[in-house]
Symmetry: C2
Subunit: 178 residues, 2 copies
């Protein structure tokens, strides 16, 4: 099969959710089984040798790829959610948004001490959410074996710098200007 370009399947939506933002719509990649499977395969290939025990993903788009990655790596799947959505005892992490802060949570019993955890989110922008997710995993005693994204926004956001020290994989780089 000829190598496909994943970026061709990502739709740019101008002025969404607010004016001035060029939103990267990944749903157009997901609806086509060829780039969807290719994205998952590339991530699985990169982390296969690390013996991943759990894949933890951030809701909601993170779950679309994360569940399949966990399945293929023979790993358990951990749900990281916004505050108040998980029913059991949680670890919490607060992180900064452009205006104000937000909180993500993970069940305290979702990860055991010393487990290798692959984090997944669909998009790396400032890195704030992923960094908070990494702290959640470490609070539970897990080891962050890597952080994977489909899309990385490069340029002025410097998300990769915030995640220095982790094994980062992104499949598609899209430059942004501010």
């Amino acid at each position: 099969m000829a190598r496909i370009k994943l970026i061709d399947f990502i739709r740019n939506v101008p002025d969404w959710p607010v004016e001035g933002i060029q939103f990267k719509d990944i749903t157009t990649l997901c609806v086509n089984s060829i780039p969807f499977k290719e994205s998952i395969n590339q991530i699985v290939k990169h982390y296969k040798k690390k013996k991943i025990d759990k894949v933890a993903a951030i809701e909601a788009r993170g779950y679309v790829f994360g569940g399949a990655i966990a399945y293929l790596l023979d790993a358990g799947f951990v749900l990281i959610r916004k505050k108040g959505k998980l029913p059991w005892k949680c670890h919490q992490e607060e992180y900064e948004l452009e205006y104000g802060t937000d909180i993500i949570e993970m069940h305290q019993d979702a990860i055991d001490e010393g487990e290798n955890v692959l984090l997944f989110d669909d998009l790396l922008a400032t890195g704030g959410t992923a960094k908070a997710a990494a702290k959640l995993v470490e609070k539970a005693g897990g080891i962050v074996a890597g952080i994977a994204f489909v899309i990385e926004l490069t340029g002025s956001l410097h998300g990769r710098d915030l995640l220095k020290g982790y094994d980062i994989l992104s499949l598609v780089e899209i430059p942004v200007e501010e």
Copy 2:
């Protein structure tokens, strides 16, 4: 491998999200790769012969299993979300809750005329959300080839009756009393 009982991996959380509700927590099934993979395999096996073009799932827990099911069926994946979260032109369906109504949306270009679509959600209760999701698929010209759940609450809720005529699969039945 000895046959595992999926129900043993589902945690009952009393009085969540409100007093009197016995919440069925599926995250304890997801964190263990054995019941997680077994759930996905059972659903894939049931619908494999139907030549599924797309798997459509309802956020957020639906995505955890839905992405893996789509991967294994060589199908595209369609995101059904709460109102206002998808960036492109949407079909909308309103459905009733215990108090008031809610709206789910799906991109208008996510499904092509005549495609076979498998719907997935983690839990069947009253069937209201799944019914609205089926209408969304049909509005786009798709054929609902089946509706799959991990958990079905049986007894007083009659969710299965609301979905009469569809090929329904649920892996675990849990009786509820009201």
